[in-house]
Protein backbone atom coordinates (compact mmCIF):
# COMPACT_ATOMS: atom_id res chain seq x y z
CA UNK A 1 0.00 0.00 0.00
CA UNK A 2 1.55 3.23 -1.14
CA UNK A 3 0.17 5.73 1.29
CA UNK A 4 3.23 7.76 1.64
CA UNK A 5 5.46 9.99 -0.31
CA UNK A 6 8.42 11.31 1.55
CA UNK A 7 9.68 14.56 0.24
CA UNK A 8 13.02 16.18 0.68
CA UNK A 9 12.37 19.70 -0.38
CA UNK A 10 13.18 21.03 3.00
CA UNK A 11 16.82 20.51 2.50
CA UNK A 12 17.40 23.41 0.20
CA UNK A 13 16.10 25.85 2.68
CA UNK A 14 17.06 24.46 5.97
CA UNK A 15 20.25 22.57 5.45
CA UNK A 16 22.05 25.83 5.51
CA UNK A 17 24.78 25.66 8.07
CA UNK A 18 24.15 27.68 11.10
CA UNK A 19 26.26 30.53 10.09
CA UNK A 20 26.78 32.83 12.91
CA UNK A 21 26.28 35.91 10.96
CA UNK A 22 26.49 38.39 13.63
CA UNK A 23 29.84 38.86 15.00
CA UNK A 24 28.55 40.84 17.82
CA UNK A 25 30.19 43.89 19.01
CA UNK A 26 27.71 44.66 21.64
CA UNK A 27 29.25 47.79 22.93
CA UNK A 28 29.36 49.25 19.51
CA UNK A 29 25.67 48.80 19.09
CA UNK A 30 24.95 51.91 20.98
CA UNK A 31 27.33 54.02 18.96
CA UNK A 32 26.25 56.11 16.13
CA UNK A 33 27.96 54.28 13.35
CA UNK A 34 26.84 51.09 11.94
CA UNK A 35 28.63 48.37 13.63
CA UNK A 36 29.32 45.56 11.47
CA UNK A 37 29.20 42.51 10.00
CA UNK A 38 27.83 39.94 7.91
CA UNK A 39 28.98 37.13 5.80
CA UNK A 40 27.06 34.06 4.70
CA UNK A 41 25.95 31.81 2.87
CA UNK A 42 24.87 29.23 0.31
CA UNK A 43 21.64 27.73 -0.83
CA UNK A 44 21.27 29.03 -4.35
CA UNK A 45 18.31 26.93 -5.31
CA UNK A 46 15.62 28.66 -3.36
CA UNK A 47 13.72 31.27 -5.23
CA UNK A 48 13.26 34.04 -2.84
CA UNK A 49 10.03 35.47 -4.07
CA UNK A 50 7.89 32.86 -2.38
CA UNK A 51 4.34 32.21 -3.25
CA UNK A 52 2.00 33.81 -0.79
CA UNK A 53 0.00 31.05 0.80
CA UNK A 54 -1.93 33.02 3.30
CA UNK A 55 -3.49 36.19 4.50
CA UNK A 56 -2.90 37.31 8.01
CA UNK A 57 -5.89 38.97 9.51
CA UNK A 58 -5.17 40.91 12.62
CA UNK A 59 -8.34 40.59 14.59
CA UNK A 60 -7.28 42.48 17.64
CA UNK A 61 -4.69 45.13 18.23
CA UNK A 62 -3.08 46.40 21.34
CA UNK A 63 -3.37 49.61 23.22
CA UNK A 64 -0.08 50.96 24.35
CA UNK A 65 1.83 49.42 21.47
CA UNK A 66 5.07 51.12 20.52
CA UNK A 67 4.57 53.38 17.48
CA UNK A 68 7.22 52.56 14.91
CA UNK A 69 7.84 53.52 11.28
CA UNK A 70 9.47 51.07 8.91
CA UNK A 71 10.67 53.07 5.93
CA UNK A 72 10.80 51.12 2.66
CA UNK A 73 14.39 50.06 2.12
CA UNK A 74 16.25 51.73 -0.69
CA UNK A 75 17.54 49.57 -3.48
CA UNK A 76 20.36 50.23 -5.88
CA UNK A 77 19.00 47.55 -8.16
CA UNK A 78 15.67 46.96 -9.81
CA UNK A 79 13.30 44.37 -8.45
CA UNK A 80 11.55 43.40 -5.30
CA UNK A 81 14.12 42.47 -2.67
CA UNK A 82 14.31 45.67 -0.64
CA UNK A 83 10.58 46.16 -0.60
CA UNK A 84 10.07 42.63 0.60
CA UNK A 85 12.50 43.08 3.45
CA UNK A 86 10.89 46.18 4.86
CA UNK A 87 7.41 44.72 4.29
CA UNK A 88 8.30 41.59 6.24
CA UNK A 89 9.85 43.55 9.09
CA UNK A 90 6.78 45.74 9.32
CA UNK A 91 4.39 42.76 9.20
CA UNK A 92 6.35 40.87 11.87
CA UNK A 93 6.33 43.82 14.24
CA UNK A 94 2.64 44.51 13.67
CA UNK A 95 1.72 40.85 14.17
CA UNK A 96 3.39 40.73 17.57
CA UNK A 97 0.86 43.17 18.96
CA UNK A 98 3.61 45.12 20.68
CA UNK A 99 4.06 47.63 17.89
CA UNK A 100 1.84 50.01 16.06
CA UNK A 101 3.22 50.53 12.58
CA UNK A 102 2.62 53.97 11.12
CA UNK A 103 1.10 54.02 7.60
CA UNK A 104 3.66 54.80 4.95
CA UNK A 105 1.53 57.40 3.26
CA UNK A 106 1.95 59.55 6.35
CA UNK A 107 5.74 59.60 6.09
CA UNK A 108 7.31 63.00 5.48
CA UNK A 109 10.53 61.57 4.13
CA UNK A 110 12.16 58.37 2.93
CA UNK A 111 15.47 58.19 4.77
CA UNK A 112 17.58 55.10 4.19
CA UNK A 113 20.35 55.76 6.70
CA UNK A 114 20.54 57.19 10.19
CA UNK A 115 22.18 60.36 8.86
CA UNK A 116 19.17 61.08 6.67
CA UNK A 117 16.60 60.82 9.45
CA UNK A 118 15.04 64.20 10.28
CA UNK A 119 13.91 63.63 13.81
CA UNK A 120 11.34 66.39 13.93
CA UNK A 121 9.42 64.82 11.00
CA UNK A 122 8.99 61.65 12.98
CA UNK A 123 8.26 63.38 16.24
CA UNK A 124 5.37 65.04 14.42
CA UNK A 125 4.02 61.61 13.64
CA UNK A 126 4.46 60.61 17.28
CA UNK A 127 6.72 57.79 16.27
CA UNK A 128 9.09 56.39 18.89
CA UNK A 129 11.39 54.54 16.55
CA UNK A 130 12.22 54.47 12.84
CA UNK A 131 13.70 51.59 10.88
CA UNK A 132 15.74 52.56 7.82
CA UNK A 133 17.84 50.47 5.50
CA UNK A 134 18.96 49.62 2.04
CA UNK A 135 19.79 46.71 -0.18
CA UNK A 136 22.25 46.45 -3.01
CA UNK A 137 23.24 43.64 -5.31
CA UNK A 138 26.64 42.25 -4.49
CA UNK A 139 26.97 40.00 -7.52
CA UNK A 140 26.72 36.24 -7.71
CA UNK A 141 23.09 36.33 -6.62
CA UNK A 142 24.03 37.95 -3.34
CA UNK A 143 22.88 41.13 -1.72
CA UNK A 144 24.16 43.50 0.88
CA UNK A 145 21.44 44.36 3.34
CA UNK A 146 21.81 47.01 5.98
CA UNK A 147 19.47 48.52 8.48
CA UNK A 148 19.46 50.89 11.40
CA UNK A 149 17.01 51.35 14.23
CA UNK A 150 16.67 55.00 15.21
CA UNK A 151 15.43 56.40 18.51
CA UNK A 152 13.47 59.45 17.43
CA UNK A 153 13.36 61.24 20.74
CA UNK A 154 16.97 60.84 21.69
CA UNK A 155 18.08 61.28 18.10
CA UNK A 156 20.42 58.35 18.15
CA UNK A 157 21.01 55.09 16.40
CA UNK A 158 19.99 52.26 18.71
CA UNK A 159 21.50 49.55 16.59
CA UNK A 160 22.49 48.80 13.04
CA UNK A 161 23.57 45.75 11.12
CA UNK A 162 24.84 44.81 7.70
CA UNK A 163 24.59 41.40 6.07
CA UNK A 164 25.64 39.77 2.82
CA UNK A 165 23.09 37.16 1.88
CA UNK A 166 21.86 35.04 -0.97
CA UNK A 167 18.69 36.17 -2.64
CA UNK A 168 17.05 33.05 -1.26
CA UNK A 169 17.62 34.24 2.29
CA UNK A 170 15.86 37.59 2.10
CA UNK A 171 12.89 36.49 4.16
CA UNK A 172 15.16 35.00 6.77
CA UNK A 173 17.24 38.14 7.05
CA UNK A 174 14.11 40.22 7.35
CA UNK A 175 12.87 38.04 10.22
CA UNK A 176 16.24 38.32 11.92
CA UNK A 177 16.15 42.08 11.61
CA UNK A 178 12.66 42.07 13.11
CA UNK A 179 14.02 39.92 15.95
CA UNK A 180 16.77 42.47 16.65
CA UNK A 181 14.31 45.36 16.66
CA UNK A 182 11.91 43.45 18.89
CA UNK A 183 14.64 42.64 21.37
CA UNK A 184 15.98 46.15 21.34
CA UNK A 185 12.61 47.74 22.07
CA UNK A 186 10.93 45.17 24.30
CA UNK A 187 13.85 43.45 25.98
CA UNK A 188 12.47 40.07 24.92
CA UNK A 189 14.09 37.80 22.36
CA UNK A 190 12.25 37.95 19.07
CA UNK A 191 10.86 34.71 17.63
CA UNK A 192 10.17 35.79 14.07
CA UNK A 193 13.08 33.84 12.64
CA UNK A 194 11.59 30.53 13.69
CA UNK A 195 9.38 27.99 11.99
CA UNK A 196 6.06 26.31 12.45
CA UNK A 197 5.16 22.74 11.60
CA UNK A 198 1.52 21.99 10.86
CA UNK A 199 -0.75 19.63 8.97
CA UNK A 200 -2.61 20.67 5.83
CA UNK A 201 -5.57 18.62 4.62
CA UNK A 202 -6.46 18.89 0.96
CA UNK A 203 -9.45 17.31 -0.66
CA UNK A 204 -8.42 15.18 -3.57
CA UNK A 205 -10.33 14.93 -6.84
CA UNK A 206 -11.61 11.49 -5.88
CA UNK A 207 -13.21 12.96 -2.76
CA UNK A 208 -10.63 11.59 -0.38
CA UNK A 209 -8.16 13.58 1.61
CA UNK A 210 -4.50 14.22 1.27
CA UNK A 211 -2.57 15.02 4.44
CA UNK A 212 0.60 17.07 4.32
CA UNK A 213 3.05 17.63 7.12
CA UNK A 214 4.46 21.04 6.38
CA UNK A 215 7.07 23.39 7.74
CA UNK A 216 6.96 27.12 7.09
CA UNK A 217 8.43 30.33 8.44
CA UNK A 218 6.75 31.57 11.60
CA UNK A 219 4.60 33.91 9.50
CA UNK A 220 3.36 31.00 7.38
CA UNK A 221 5.41 31.79 4.28
CA UNK A 222 7.66 29.44 2.39
CA UNK A 223 5.93 26.16 3.23
CA UNK A 224 7.82 22.96 2.50
CA UNK A 225 6.22 19.55 2.64
CA UNK A 226 7.93 16.98 4.82
CA UNK A 227 5.42 14.18 4.33
CA UNK A 228 2.40 13.50 2.14
CA UNK A 229 -0.08 10.77 3.04
CA UNK A 230 -3.57 9.62 2.19
CA UNK A 231 -4.04 8.96 5.91
CA UNK A 232 -4.23 11.42 8.81
CA UNK A 233 -1.13 13.01 10.33
CA UNK A 234 -1.20 14.39 13.87
CA UNK A 235 0.83 15.99 16.61
CA UNK A 236 4.07 17.20 15.06
CA UNK A 237 6.60 17.90 17.83
CA UNK A 238 9.95 19.62 17.35
CA UNK A 239 13.04 18.16 18.90
CA UNK A 240 14.60 20.72 21.26
CA UNK A 241 17.33 21.61 18.77
CA UNK A 242 14.87 21.99 15.91
CA UNK A 243 16.49 19.34 13.74
CA UNK A 244 13.80 16.65 13.96
CA UNK A 245 10.06 16.29 14.06
CA UNK A 246 8.22 13.52 15.83
CA UNK A 247 4.67 12.99 14.60
CA UNK A 248 1.80 10.54 14.44
CA UNK A 249 0.93 9.08 11.05
CA UNK A 250 -1.90 6.69 10.24
CA UNK A 251 -0.12 5.21 7.25
CA UNK A 252 -0.91 1.51 7.13
CA UNK A 253 -4.25 2.48 8.73
CA UNK A 254 -2.98 2.65 12.25
CA UNK A 255 -1.51 5.48 14.30
CA UNK A 256 2.27 5.12 14.64
CA UNK A 257 4.97 7.51 15.76
CA UNK A 258 7.80 8.53 13.45
CA UNK A 259 10.82 10.76 13.96
CA UNK A 260 12.01 12.56 10.87
CA UNK A 261 15.00 14.76 10.11
CA UNK A 262 13.75 18.11 9.00
CA UNK A 263 16.72 18.74 6.73
CA UNK A 264 16.84 15.59 4.63
CA UNK A 265 13.52 13.86 5.28
CA UNK A 266 15.06 10.66 6.60
CA UNK A 267 12.99 9.10 9.29
CA UNK A 268 12.67 6.21 11.70
CA UNK A 269 9.61 4.55 13.11
CA UNK A 270 9.69 5.22 16.82
CA UNK A 271 6.64 3.29 18.01
CA UNK A 272 4.38 0.81 16.28
CA UNK A 273 2.84 -1.22 19.08
CA UNK A 274 -0.63 -2.75 19.01
CA UNK A 275 -3.31 -0.09 19.52
CA UNK A 276 -2.64 3.61 19.34
CA UNK A 277 0.83 5.12 19.26
CA UNK A 278 0.46 8.84 19.69
CA UNK A 279 1.16 12.19 21.38
CA UNK A 280 4.99 12.24 21.16
CA UNK A 281 6.71 14.79 23.43
CA UNK A 282 10.46 15.41 23.59
CA UNK A 283 12.26 15.78 26.87
CA UNK A 284 14.00 19.18 27.06
CA UNK A 285 17.42 17.59 26.48
CA UNK A 286 16.15 15.67 23.46
CA UNK A 287 17.23 12.32 24.83
CA UNK A 288 13.77 10.90 25.53
CA UNK A 289 10.29 10.96 24.10
CA UNK A 290 7.13 10.55 26.14
CA UNK A 291 4.15 9.15 24.25
CA UNK A 292 0.75 7.54 24.56
CA UNK A 293 0.36 3.84 23.81
CA UNK A 294 -2.61 1.53 24.30
CA UNK A 295 -0.54 -1.62 23.92
CA UNK A 296 -1.56 -2.76 27.38
CA UNK A 297 -5.25 -2.22 26.67
CA UNK A 298 -5.78 1.40 27.66
CA UNK A 299 -4.16 4.66 26.61
CA UNK A 300 -1.29 5.22 29.03
CA UNK A 301 1.83 7.35 29.01
CA UNK A 302 5.20 5.76 28.33
CA UNK A 303 8.68 7.10 27.86
CA UNK A 304 11.43 5.79 25.60
CA UNK A 305 14.83 6.89 24.38
CA UNK A 306 14.57 9.13 21.34
CA UNK A 307 15.57 6.07 19.33
CA UNK A 308 12.57 4.17 20.73
CA UNK A 309 14.50 1.87 23.05
CA UNK A 310 14.13 1.41 26.80
CA UNK A 311 10.37 1.78 26.75
CA UNK A 312 8.94 2.33 30.20
CA UNK A 313 5.37 2.85 31.35
CA UNK A 314 4.69 5.94 33.49
CA UNK A 315 0.95 5.88 34.20
CA UNK A 316 -1.39 3.14 35.30
CA UNK A 317 -5.04 3.98 35.43
CA UNK A 318 -8.17 2.61 33.77
CA UNK A 319 -9.08 6.00 32.32
CA UNK A 320 -7.44 7.76 29.43
CA UNK A 321 -3.99 9.21 30.06
CA UNK A 322 -2.52 11.10 27.12
CA UNK A 323 -0.92 14.33 25.83
CA UNK A 324 2.24 14.31 27.94
CA UNK A 325 4.38 17.47 27.99
CA UNK A 326 7.66 18.04 29.85
CA UNK A 327 8.50 20.96 32.07
CA UNK A 328 11.48 22.99 30.83
CA UNK A 329 13.64 21.57 33.64
CA UNK A 330 12.77 18.01 32.62
CA UNK A 331 11.60 17.11 36.12
CA UNK A 332 7.84 17.05 35.58
CA UNK A 333 5.43 15.76 32.98
CA UNK A 334 1.93 17.18 32.70
CA UNK A 335 -0.74 15.16 30.91
CA UNK A 336 -4.44 14.91 30.21
CA UNK A 337 -6.36 12.28 32.12
CA UNK A 338 -10.00 11.24 32.20
CA UNK A 339 -9.58 9.71 35.65
CA UNK A 340 -11.93 12.20 37.31
CA UNK A 341 -14.61 11.35 34.75
CA UNK A 342 -13.76 14.29 32.50
CA UNK A 343 -10.57 15.36 30.85
CA UNK A 344 -8.39 17.34 33.25
CA UNK A 345 -4.70 18.18 33.55
CA UNK A 346 -2.46 16.28 35.93
CA UNK A 347 1.21 16.33 36.71
CA UNK A 348 3.66 13.63 37.70
CA UNK A 349 7.37 13.16 38.16
CA UNK A 350 9.16 12.60 34.88
CA UNK A 351 9.97 9.05 36.00
CA UNK A 352 6.32 8.38 36.85
CA UNK A 353 4.67 8.58 40.23
CA UNK A 354 3.63 11.54 42.34
CA UNK A 355 0.50 12.14 40.28
CA UNK A 356 -1.56 15.15 41.27
CA UNK A 357 -4.37 17.04 39.62
CA UNK A 358 -3.66 20.57 38.42
CA UNK A 359 -6.88 21.87 36.85
CA UNK A 360 -10.18 22.08 38.66
CA UNK A 361 -11.95 24.89 36.84
CA UNK A 362 -13.76 24.07 33.60
CA UNK A 363 -15.50 20.94 32.40
CA UNK A 364 -12.70 19.99 30.09
CA UNK A 365 -9.01 20.82 30.16
CA UNK A 366 -6.60 19.11 27.80
CA UNK A 367 -3.35 19.26 25.85
CA UNK A 368 -1.36 21.34 28.28
CA UNK A 369 2.18 22.48 27.59
CA UNK A 370 4.61 24.65 29.53
CA UNK A 371 5.64 28.19 28.75
CA UNK A 372 9.38 28.45 28.10
CA UNK A 373 9.91 29.88 31.61
CA UNK A 374 7.98 27.00 33.15
CA UNK A 375 5.59 29.27 35.02
CA UNK A 376 2.51 28.84 32.86
CA UNK A 377 0.57 26.10 31.14
CA UNK A 378 -1.30 26.70 27.92
CA UNK A 379 -4.15 24.27 27.30
CA UNK A 380 -7.54 23.80 25.70
CA UNK A 381 -10.25 24.63 28.18
CA UNK A 382 -14.05 24.42 28.06
CA UNK A 383 -15.84 26.87 30.33
CA UNK A 384 -19.22 27.11 28.69
CA UNK A 385 -18.04 29.10 25.68
CA UNK A 386 -16.59 26.35 23.57
CA UNK A 387 -13.11 24.85 23.45
CA UNK A 388 -10.71 27.71 23.89
CA UNK A 389 -7.08 28.45 24.55
CA UNK A 390 -6.53 28.92 28.26
CA UNK A 391 -3.44 30.00 30.13
CA UNK A 392 -2.90 28.79 33.67
CA UNK A 393 -0.43 30.74 35.77
CA UNK A 394 0.91 28.15 38.18
CA UNK A 395 2.14 30.78 40.61
CA UNK A 396 -1.33 32.24 41.16
CA UNK A 397 -3.40 29.28 39.98
CA UNK A 398 -5.45 31.68 37.86
CA UNK A 399 -6.57 30.70 34.38
CA UNK A 400 -7.18 33.22 31.65
CA UNK A 401 -9.00 32.38 28.43
CA UNK A 402 -6.98 33.91 25.61
CA UNK A 403 -8.99 33.12 22.50
CA UNK A 404 -12.47 34.06 21.44
CA UNK A 405 -12.74 31.23 18.94
CA UNK A 406 -14.74 28.11 19.83
CA UNK A 407 -13.16 24.92 18.52
CA UNK A 408 -9.55 25.48 19.38
CA UNK A 409 -6.86 22.80 19.40
CA UNK A 410 -3.12 22.27 19.74
CA UNK A 411 -1.86 25.44 21.40
CA UNK A 412 1.89 25.87 21.11
CA UNK A 413 4.13 28.55 22.65
CA UNK A 414 6.60 30.52 20.60
CA UNK A 415 10.06 29.88 22.01
CA UNK A 416 10.15 33.38 23.52
CA UNK A 417 6.84 32.76 25.27
CA UNK A 418 5.28 35.91 23.82
CA UNK A 419 2.86 34.29 21.37
CA UNK A 420 0.82 31.11 21.19
CA UNK A 421 -0.18 29.52 17.91
CA UNK A 422 -3.15 27.16 17.77
CA UNK A 423 -5.57 25.49 15.41
CA UNK A 424 -9.18 26.59 15.17
CA UNK A 425 -12.13 26.80 12.77
CA UNK A 426 -13.10 29.76 10.65
CA UNK A 427 -15.91 29.52 8.15
CA UNK A 428 -16.03 25.76 8.62
CA UNK A 429 -12.39 25.42 7.69
CA UNK A 430 -9.36 24.62 9.78
CA UNK A 431 -7.11 27.64 10.20
CA UNK A 432 -4.17 28.60 12.34
CA UNK A 433 -4.49 31.47 14.75
CA UNK A 434 -2.06 33.20 17.06
CA UNK A 435 -2.60 35.13 20.24
CA UNK A 436 -0.16 37.01 22.41
CA UNK A 437 0.33 35.35 25.76
CA UNK A 438 -1.11 38.43 27.46
CA UNK A 439 -4.20 37.89 25.32
CA UNK A 440 -4.12 41.40 23.93
CA UNK A 441 -3.23 40.74 20.29
CA UNK A 442 -4.60 38.03 18.09
CA UNK A 443 -4.69 37.09 14.45
CA UNK A 444 -5.85 34.38 12.12
CA UNK A 445 -3.57 32.99 9.47
CA UNK A 446 -5.75 32.02 6.53
CA UNK A 447 -4.14 29.68 4.12
CA UNK A 448 -5.48 29.78 0.61
CA UNK A 449 -5.79 26.06 0.15
CA UNK A 450 -7.02 23.28 2.32
CA UNK A 451 -7.64 23.05 6.00
CA UNK A 452 -4.72 23.69 8.34
CA UNK A 453 -4.31 22.29 11.83
CA UNK A 454 -1.96 20.93 14.48
CA UNK A 455 0.58 23.76 14.59
CA UNK A 456 3.81 23.38 16.54
CA UNK A 457 6.16 26.33 16.98
CA UNK A 458 9.83 25.50 16.58
CA UNK A 459 12.49 26.25 19.17
CA UNK A 460 15.05 28.99 18.56
CA UNK A 461 16.83 26.84 16.04
CA UNK A 462 19.62 29.14 15.10
CA UNK A 463 21.21 31.02 17.90
CA UNK A 464 22.32 34.41 16.81
Amino acid sequence: MQDIILTFKLSTFYLAPMVNFRIQIKNLLRLTFIPVLFCLSISPSVVWAQEQPLDIIITEGVEGAIPIAVVPFESSTAGDPPQIISDIIEADLARSGRFETVPREDFLGQPTTFNQVRFKDWRLLKVDAVVVGKVSAAGGGQYDVQFELVDVFEGRQMTGWRYRVDGGKMRKVAHQIADIIYKQLTGIDGAFDTRIAYVTVQKTASGGGSYLLQVADSDGYGPSTALTSSQPILSPAWSPNGSRLAYVSFEGRKPKIFVQNVADGRRVKLADYPGINSAPAWSPDGSRIAMTLSRDGNPEIYVADSSGGNLRRLTKHGAIDTEPAWSPDGQTIVFTSGRSGKAQIYRMNANGGGVSRITFDGKYNARASFSPDGNQLVMITERGRGYQVGLLDMRTNATKVLSDTRLDESPSFAPNGAMIIYGTQSGGRGVLAAVSSDGRASQILKFQEGAVREPAWSPFNRKL
Binding site: L234, V248, G275, S278, A366
Partner: protein
Amino acid sequence: MRKSLALIVIVMLAFNLAACGKKKVVENVPIAEGGSGDGGDGTGGVGSDGIEGSQFGPGNPDDPNDPLNKRVVYFEYDSPNLDAEGQIIAEAHAQWLASNPGVTVVLEGHADERGTREYNLALGENRAQSVMQVMQGMGVSGSNIQSISYGEERPVALGADESSWSLNRRVEIIYGN
Protein backbone atom coordinates in the same frame (compact mmCIF):
# COMPACT_ATOMS: atom_id res chain seq x y z
CA MET B 1 -42.63 -16.01 7.33
CA ARG B 2 -41.40 -19.19 5.79
CA LYS B 3 -40.12 -17.17 2.90
CA SER B 4 -38.14 -14.90 5.10
CA LEU B 5 -36.71 -17.81 7.04
CA ALA B 6 -35.53 -19.31 3.82
CA LEU B 7 -34.04 -16.01 2.92
CA ILE B 8 -32.17 -15.86 6.18
CA VAL B 9 -30.72 -19.28 5.54
CA ILE B 10 -29.61 -18.28 2.09
CA VAL B 11 -28.18 -15.11 3.41
CA MET B 12 -26.30 -16.84 6.14
CA LEU B 13 -24.92 -19.32 3.69
CA ALA B 14 -23.86 -16.61 1.33
CA PHE B 15 -22.21 -14.67 4.09
CA ASN B 16 -20.43 -17.69 5.42
CA LEU B 17 -19.16 -18.53 2.00
CA ALA B 18 -17.81 -15.06 1.68
CA ALA B 19 -16.52 -15.15 5.18
CA CYS B 20 -14.67 -18.40 4.67
CA GLY B 21 -12.52 -16.49 2.28
CA LYS B 22 -12.99 -18.72 -0.73
CA LYS B 23 -14.26 -15.91 -2.75
CA LYS B 24 -15.97 -12.70 -2.00
CA VAL B 25 -19.51 -13.18 -3.10
CA VAL B 26 -20.67 -9.72 -2.44
CA GLU B 27 -19.04 -6.44 -1.77
CA ASN B 28 -18.86 -5.65 1.86
CA VAL B 29 -21.22 -2.75 2.22
CA PRO B 30 -23.50 -2.74 5.17
CA ILE B 31 -27.13 -2.16 4.54
CA ALA B 32 -27.52 -0.80 7.96
CA GLU B 33 -26.90 2.75 9.02
CA GLY B 34 -23.67 4.60 9.02
CA GLY B 35 -20.31 3.36 8.16
CA SER B 36 -17.75 5.57 6.52
CA GLY B 37 -16.02 2.21 6.63
CA ASP B 38 -12.55 3.27 5.79
CA GLY B 39 -11.56 -0.31 6.36
CA GLY B 40 -14.42 -1.56 4.24
CA ASP B 41 -13.47 -1.64 0.66
CA GLY B 42 -16.81 -1.74 -1.07
CA THR B 43 -18.33 1.07 -2.95
CA GLY B 44 -21.33 -1.10 -3.48
CA GLY B 45 -24.67 -0.55 -5.06
CA VAL B 46 -24.52 -0.63 -8.78
CA GLY B 47 -23.04 -3.63 -10.55
CA SER B 48 -21.64 -3.57 -14.03
CA ASP B 49 -24.97 -4.61 -15.46
CA GLY B 50 -26.63 -1.66 -13.83
CA ILE B 51 -28.72 -3.69 -11.43
CA GLU B 52 -28.87 -2.08 -8.06
CA GLY B 53 -28.20 -4.43 -5.19
CA SER B 54 -27.72 -3.86 -1.53
CA GLN B 55 -25.38 -6.07 0.32
CA PHE B 56 -25.88 -7.28 3.82
CA GLY B 57 -24.17 -9.16 6.54
CA PRO B 58 -25.30 -11.52 9.22
CA GLY B 59 -28.54 -9.81 10.15
CA ASN B 60 -32.00 -10.45 8.81
CA PRO B 61 -32.34 -8.02 5.94
CA ASP B 62 -36.10 -7.92 6.33
CA ASP B 63 -36.00 -6.98 9.98
CA PRO B 64 -34.86 -3.45 10.63
CA ASN B 65 -34.83 -4.14 14.35
CA ASP B 66 -32.39 -7.00 14.11
CA PRO B 67 -29.41 -5.67 16.05
CA LEU B 68 -27.15 -7.54 13.66
CA ASN B 69 -28.23 -5.08 11.02
CA LYS B 70 -26.78 -2.29 13.05
CA ARG B 71 -23.10 -1.91 12.44
CA VAL B 72 -22.57 1.26 14.36
CA VAL B 73 -22.62 1.76 18.10
CA TYR B 74 -23.06 5.32 19.38
CA PHE B 75 -21.72 6.97 22.51
CA GLU B 76 -22.36 9.84 24.84
CA TYR B 77 -20.07 12.85 24.86
CA ASP B 78 -16.62 12.12 26.32
CA SER B 79 -17.70 8.61 27.27
CA PRO B 80 -16.21 5.29 26.26
CA ASN B 81 -19.09 3.38 27.87
CA LEU B 82 -21.75 1.45 25.97
CA ASP B 83 -25.33 2.48 26.54
CA ALA B 84 -28.17 -0.08 26.61
CA GLU B 85 -28.64 -0.10 22.87
CA GLY B 86 -24.93 -0.25 22.23
CA GLN B 87 -24.70 -3.20 24.58
CA ILE B 88 -27.44 -5.04 22.66
CA ILE B 89 -25.76 -4.41 19.32
CA ALA B 90 -22.35 -5.44 20.59
CA GLU B 91 -23.74 -8.60 22.15
CA ALA B 92 -25.63 -9.57 18.99
CA HIS B 93 -22.50 -9.33 16.92
CA ALA B 94 -20.49 -11.04 19.61
CA GLN B 95 -22.90 -13.96 19.65
CA TRP B 96 -22.81 -14.26 15.90
CA LEU B 97 -19.03 -14.00 15.75
CA ALA B 98 -18.63 -16.57 18.51
CA SER B 99 -20.52 -19.09 16.43
CA ASN B 100 -18.72 -18.10 13.23
CA PRO B 101 -15.09 -18.32 14.27
CA GLY B 102 -13.83 -17.94 10.71
CA VAL B 103 -15.06 -14.36 10.54
CA THR B 104 -13.01 -11.40 11.66
CA VAL B 105 -14.06 -7.88 12.52
CA VAL B 106 -12.39 -4.53 12.80
CA LEU B 107 -13.77 -2.21 15.45
CA GLU B 108 -13.18 1.34 14.37
CA GLY B 109 -13.49 3.92 17.14
CA HIS B 110 -14.36 7.55 16.48
CA ALA B 111 -15.02 10.78 18.37
CA ASP B 112 -16.68 14.07 17.61
CA GLU B 113 -14.59 17.10 16.80
CA ARG B 114 -14.80 18.79 20.17
CA GLY B 115 -11.75 18.73 22.36
CA THR B 116 -8.22 17.86 21.40
CA ARG B 117 -7.27 15.43 18.65
CA GLU B 118 -5.03 13.32 20.83
CA TYR B 119 -7.58 12.98 23.60
CA ASN B 120 -10.15 12.03 20.98
CA LEU B 121 -7.80 9.47 19.53
CA ALA B 122 -7.57 7.87 22.97
CA LEU B 123 -11.34 8.15 23.40
CA GLY B 124 -11.97 6.40 20.07
CA GLU B 125 -9.59 3.67 21.15
CA ASN B 126 -11.41 3.14 24.43
CA ARG B 127 -14.78 3.06 22.66
CA ALA B 128 -13.51 0.33 20.35
CA GLN B 129 -12.11 -1.44 23.41
CA SER B 130 -15.52 -1.31 25.09
CA VAL B 131 -17.07 -3.21 22.19
CA MET B 132 -14.12 -5.55 22.06
CA GLN B 133 -14.51 -6.43 25.72
CA VAL B 134 -18.13 -7.41 25.18
CA MET B 135 -17.13 -9.61 22.27
CA GLN B 136 -14.26 -11.27 24.08
CA GLY B 137 -16.45 -11.72 27.13
CA MET B 138 -18.87 -13.67 24.97
CA GLY B 139 -16.25 -15.97 23.61
CA VAL B 140 -15.07 -14.31 20.43
CA SER B 141 -11.40 -15.04 19.90
CA GLY B 142 -9.21 -12.00 20.40
CA SER B 143 -7.34 -12.89 17.25
CA ASN B 144 -10.52 -12.33 15.26
CA ILE B 145 -11.03 -8.79 16.53
CA GLN B 146 -8.92 -5.83 15.71
CA SER B 147 -9.44 -2.33 17.02
CA ILE B 148 -8.35 0.93 15.54
CA SER B 149 -9.06 4.46 16.57
CA TYR B 150 -9.35 7.33 14.15
CA GLY B 151 -10.27 9.81 16.87
CA GLU B 152 -11.98 12.79 15.31
CA GLU B 153 -10.25 12.34 11.96
CA ARG B 154 -13.05 10.60 10.08
CA PRO B 155 -16.42 12.18 10.83
CA VAL B 156 -19.49 10.91 8.98
CA ALA B 157 -21.45 14.10 9.64
CA LEU B 158 -19.81 17.44 9.10
CA GLY B 159 -22.08 19.84 10.96
CA ALA B 160 -20.92 21.62 14.08
CA ASP B 161 -23.92 20.72 16.21
CA GLU B 162 -25.13 17.91 18.43
CA SER B 163 -27.00 16.12 15.63
CA SER B 164 -23.73 15.71 13.74
CA TRP B 165 -21.58 15.14 16.78
CA SER B 166 -23.84 12.36 18.03
CA LEU B 167 -23.38 10.50 14.73
CA ASN B 168 -19.62 10.89 14.92
CA ARG B 169 -19.21 9.45 18.43
CA ARG B 170 -19.25 5.86 17.32
CA VAL B 171 -17.68 2.48 16.84
CA GLU B 172 -18.10 0.93 13.44
CA ILE B 173 -18.19 -2.85 13.29
CA ILE B 174 -16.58 -3.77 10.02
CA TYR B 175 -16.67 -7.38 8.93
CA GLY B 176 -13.67 -8.85 7.21
CA ASN B 177 -13.22 -12.41 6.13
